[in-house]
């Protein structure tokens, strides 16, 4: 069945290249084909770049066991992605990573038609026998950034540029300010949502609007270095690289960066498929597993602050610190999480309220 789905052309090439081996024998030694479906371009220096880097890491690790990874860019969240998923499955890809939330419905649908293909959906929540989900605990990285911000900010005000107020972003804002307020109890953060993932000029203007109103630390959840460049140009305390190290754009202003390191997960998932041990699961690794990395610290981060940031990083790695452990008040001052209680993963993944210190958007 799987062989017959492959195009005649490919079978012909295989037979011509290895005349001594039958196509059956060839199929058994054939490297695993892994597909990646991206919402944007691998050149975005952020989210999609992170996944492409992960794909490369997987190839480097597994060598000849996997084929050169197939990356399909700019796939919209809609019926077009269903077609791309089917195209990947039909062309012999046995493991397919769908790396944007809006692909979820279609991954489930196509997975039913291709029971022998494994699918993994990033940031999603719908699973089936051959669909797993994976995500990264970026909020752990946000807590490290918030710690640095709490120490270094002179005005005690940070801004947070987001695209849409989805739980992933809300979680990041909250983790950031919770960590910062452990250092400076008066610290506040203002999220600004710009309703787009990719409009660098608008991100830059949002950063300018924040700086002009006394904000001296900027974090962003959109892809790209625009806000950091403004931070550098204006000479404020600084900001953080998102998804990748962005110090090339802001050598002084980048305090540190949260690096998406999907590679190890991609390599282990591909290895599991090769070994026949892959099972559908929901994985949410973070700093401990190395999926979320903290990049190099910038020149403004003093040794003392660096030590504090490392302590938060290590605490989360060894499990002694969870930033969402109570007591936590919401932005109106009402207690939401009692002392000693930690929010569950499910509560985090549907977070739609802001903690104390956030100046909430309307």
């Amino acid at each position: 069945m799987t062989l017959s789905r492959r195009s005649m052309l490919k079978a012909g090439v295989a037979a011509a290249a290895l005349p001594l081996l039958g196509s059956r024998a060839f199929a058994q030694t054939e490297p695993l084909k892994v597909g990646f479906m991206l919402i944007g371009t691998v050149n975005d220096n952020g989210w999609n770049f992170g996944h492409a880097t992960g794909a490369k890491y997987m190839k480097d690790q597994l060598g000849d066991l996997v084929a050169e990874p197939t990356i399909v860019e700019n796939v919209p969240e809609g019926p077009d992605c269903e077609r791309v998923l089917r195209e990947l499955a039909q062309s012999g890809h046995k493991l397919i990573f769908a790396t944007s939330f809006g692909y979820g419905d279609y991954v489930i649908k196509v997975a039913q038609q291709f029971p022998d293909v494994r699918f993994e959906h990033a940031t999603g929540y719908q699973r089936s026998d051959n669909v797993g989900t994976y995500n990264a605990r970026f909020y752990e990285g946000r807590a490290v950034c918030g710690t640095i911000a709490g120490h270094l900010s002179q005005t005690g005000k940070a801004g947070y540029i987001g695209s849409f107020p989805i739980p992933e972003v809300v979680m990041g804002v909250n983790a950031f300010v919770l960590a910062a307020r452990k250092i400076n109890p008066e610290f506040t953060i203002t999220p600004v949502y710009i309703s787009t993932w990719n409009d660098p000029a608008k991100e830059a203007d949002a950063a300018r609007a924040m700086i002009d109103q006394g904000i001296d630390i900027i974090a962003q959840h959109t892809d790209g270095p625009a806000a950091l460049q403004v931070a550098e140009e204006r000479g404020i305390v600084g900001g953080f690289g998102q998804g990748a190290d962005m110090s090339a754009f802001a050598p002084n202003a980048q305090l540190t960066s949260i690096i998406d390191n999907w590679g190890p997960h991609y390599a282990s998932a591909a290895q599991a498929v090769i070994d026949g041990t892959w099972v559908s699961q929901d994985v949410w690794p973070g700093i401990k597993e190395g999926e979320v990395e903290i990049g190099a610290y910038g020149p403004k981060v003093t040794e003392e602050v660096k030590a504090a940031a490392e302590a938060v990083k290590n605490g989360q790695a060894d499990g002694s610190l969870h930033i969402f452990t109570g007591p936590i008040n919401d932005h109106t001052g009402t207690e939401r999480v009692a002392a000693g209680v930690t929010l569950t993963d499910a509560e985090l993944l549907s977070m739609d309220w802001y903690v104390e210190g956030v100046i909430p958007p309307a």
Partner: protein
């Protein structure tokens, strides 16, 4: 509101308005000649990637602006050849040009999105702009002053110069202009090329004035805002200047309002984003009710010139 904040807002608004002002002035001249080029967004993207690449490799911002203008002209010539020499439909050709510009710029810019460049610095020495009040006047790069000069230049050209008179005649009644011996096609070619050059420079504003990098589709639909702006301004350069700053203010105030957390931040982001387009429709209706102004729309807009043989 403190003076400092007010000045800061003005500086940001000026930055946000400049590319749409330049692109719209180019499109205004094109439309005055009777041609509707909807490819502004595509030509801006071509200008943006060209300006980025030239800056990246030579570090010379002024050369980058010139080459971006030339690239804009080159892309506008595709449009000009099809619509003027071959009388193809202008709407469809303009849309095709935008598709082309989006794809071409992304192709040319592959591998350059992780590379920073530097912004074009202020035109005047820093001492002149040291006081906040003077910063409002002397704190900008040459592109901003170019946009102002362009307003006056386009106004003078259309109202006062003989060539501008011919251009308007071609836009109002191509057959009459043709019958008294003017080259309708030649005039329109010049206008389309001018529009292309301005769209190219407007595109150059993105890596040189707003955010020193290359990102695919980095113009974010502002070419369409420029098209709206021409209509909003009812084809008048000074009204266009006011309109560009009004649109820039709307786009920027959204962000200031949200960053302040004040009462204005209660307005949904979507309404802010829709405002330039809604305002343009409203203005179109208003100028049509006031008959005198509506006549300012070029009579031949969007129609191919087809002289009877």
């Amino acid at each position: 509101m403190s003076t400092d904040l007010l000045i800061a807002i003005i500086v940001t608004v000026v930055g946000a308005s400049t590319p749409i002002l330049i692109a719209a002035l180019g499109e205004l001249v094109v439309e005055k000649s009777g041609v509707l080029n909807l490819g502004v967004e595509g030509m801006m993207l071509i200008g943006a990637i060209t300006a980025f690449l030239v800056t990246f490799f030579t570090g010379n911002h002024y050369l980058a602006i010139l080459v971006a203008a030339a690239a804009g002209v080159a892309s506008s010539l595709i449009f000009g050849f099809l619509t003027l020499s071959l009388s193809a439909n202008q709407t469809a050709t303009g849309l095709a040009l935008t598709i082309f510009g989006t794809g071409f710029s992304a192709l040319a810019g592959q591998g350059y999105s992780a590379r920073p460049v530097t912004l074009l610095g202020p035109l005047f020495p820093a001492e002149l702009a040291s006081h906040p009040i003077w910063r409002v006047l002397f704190g900008y790069s040459a592109l901003v002053y170019f946009a102002f000069a362009l307003v006056i230049g386009v106004w003078w050209f259309l109202k006062r110069s003989r060539a501008g008179l011919i251009l308007r005649a071609v836009g109002e009644n191509d057959l009459s202009a043709h019958s008294i011996g003017y080259s309708v096609i030649g005039v329109r070619y010049m206008a389309v090329m001018f529009g292309g050059a301005m769209a190219g420079i407007a595109g150059a504003c993105f890596p040189l004035l707003l955010t020193p990098q290359w990102a695919e589709r980095m113009t974010g639909g502002r070419g369409w805002i420029a098209v709206a702006l021409v209509v909003f301004a009812s084809w008048k350069p000074f009204r266009l200047l006011a309109g560009a700053y009004l649109f820039g203010l709307v786009m920027t105030m959204e962000l200031y309002a949200k960053a302040s957390g004040g009462p204005l931040s209660a307005i949904p982001a979507e309404l802010w984003a829709a405002m330039p387009y809604l305002a343009t429709v409203v203005v179109l209706v208003l100028i049509s009710i006031r008959r005198d102004a509506s006549t300012n729309a070029p009579a031949c807009l969007g129609k191919p010139f087809l002289p009877a043989n």
